[in-house]
Every structure is written in structure tokens, then in C-alpha cells.
Subunit: 135 residues, 2 copies
Amino acid sequence: MRKYTEILKAISDEKRLRILRTLIKSKTGMCVCELMDTLGEQPYNISRNLKILQFLGLVEGRREGKWVVYSAVQSRDEFLKYVIKAIDSIPNEFFREDDLRMKLRLNLRQAGRCVYGVNSRAWNEAVKKIYKQIL
Amino acid sequence: MRKYTEILKAISDEKRLRILRTLIKSKTGMCVCELMDTLGEQPYNISRNLKILQFLGLVEGRREGKWVVYSAVQSRDEFLKYVIKAIDSIPNEFFREDDLRMKLRLNLRQAGRCVYGVNSRAWNEAVKKIYKQIL
DNA sequence: TTGTCATTTGCGCAATTATGCAAATGTAAA
DNA sequence: TTTACATTTGCATAATTGCGCAAATGACAA
């Protein structure tokens, strides 16, 4: 039973919930620096929480050169399927900024791959531009 | 978003998960002493955790004389429905003893109501009898 | 009222978990 | 090899949470 409660506890942390949800929504998976820019978190917070999610079988990571790309695992387990559905049932309004920034960050990719590090000039300008548009 | 993570955290605790699941399975609701006997927990652990579940809208309590009867709330909320389904997807084998003891405890009722306090003679004999049968 | 039983709650301690910093590791390009 | 960047991890500390005890509350019957 421990496995089940560990999974619930893992996603009961807001940071991990946002990381997992972002990876699910991204479809393609994302590298650590893309998650950092998207969620505005420190590298160790992203990395450590990804490790926890990975240990529980919720995400998986693969190295691609300097980058490590994580993606949500598509599970056949009934428990996990309902957990994912529950996450997906949380109204999008709570993740509006995450979703916007993820879209923006993935737009910086070239040939479907991350090419900028964290907090890059390109990223900062893209964010500034959008926030100006919105306000 | 806090509300959602709080609910996940609440059921990520094994004691609370077992309390909630037991109430769901019981259909009729159960009083604190029935939960104590069923789960083998101290009164303050049952009571405090019920309060947390109640605060989050997962269970509701009503007083019936000396007893306070709690029951699982049937929610219309999509998030909660999937959370309940997830709980229901955890294999029953993990709750075999809980289920047996719940059935045993509810069998002691008269006219559908709890009539024995915690750790009563009737309860102890019922348990001893069943455990002798099984072993 | 008094006593008894069922349940709740305040308080302090123990255990767990999250977080930041700094250092370490891994990878590729200069 | 050196450098730069991406990611991970060990360690110490802060914050949160769980738990037991003892006392309080609520309800009913003697």
C-alpha cells in the first residue's frame, strides 16, 4: 500500500504537481532548464522533485547531450490512470501562467529541441513581450 | 489550487486513507468507536483525522446520541470523483483485514445502530472466533 | 446532580519533509 | 586539457506533520 500513498504524497506537493502536470501537457517532454524557466524554480528543486517522480514511475528521463529530457510516463495501471485524470480535472485557471510560459518556452526550440539554457536573453525577451501584450 | 493539494495530502496518509476507504465501503457510515475497533486505532487518531477529512469535504459527521456517525460524502466534483476512483482502484488485498474487521464490527449492530463501545466483550469474542477459524 | 461512556482538543515532543547553499558530476565545445 | 554550461547531490537548517498524554466537552442514565 506504501506505493500508493507515496504517489499521492508526491503529487500533493504543489511544485511536484506543477512539474508533473507541465510534463503531461507538454506531450513531448521537457528538459530541466525548460522546466526551470517555465515554473520559475531553482535547478535543485526541479531536479530533486523530478527524481522523486521518476522513482515512483510517474516520469522518466533520458539524457540528450548536455540536456536531460523528462517526460510523463503513460501508465497502464488503473490507479495511476485515475490519479492522472484527477490532476487533469483541476481547473486550468490555476495553471494559466504555467501553461503560457510553457508554450512560450517550447516556442524557442529549434528542430524540436531545446537550444537555450536557463534564463536566456531570448527567453527573457519573449516573456517581456508577452507580458507587455497582456497588461 | 491549495484545496486540491490538501485533499491529495490528506489521503496520502495511510491512516486517513484507511478511514476514508472504510467509510466508503461501509455505505451506511460508522461511528468513531466502530472505526477504532475496525482499524485498531486510538480515539484521538480517528477523531483528529476525521476532522481533517471533514474539513476538506470528504466526510461528514452527525451526532446520534452518545455516538458521532461519520460517512463519506458523495461528491459531484470531478476531481473528487477521480480521487475516489483512484482509491477504489487500490487492490483489495491491501485492506483485507480492515474489510474483515469492518464487516465483523457492523454485524454487532442492533437495528442498524452501534450498541457496543470500543473494545467490548462482544467485539473481542467475535474477533477471536473469526481469527481461530482462519488460522 | 453525579457518574459513565464517547468523542474532541490543547500541548509538547518526535519524526518527516522541504529548501538553500555549495560542491560534484556529466557533456560538449574551445 | 581547459572551459562553460546543465544537472545532480550531500549537508545543515527550517518548516511541517504526526502522535501520545491528559484534560475537556457532550450526551445520557442513575
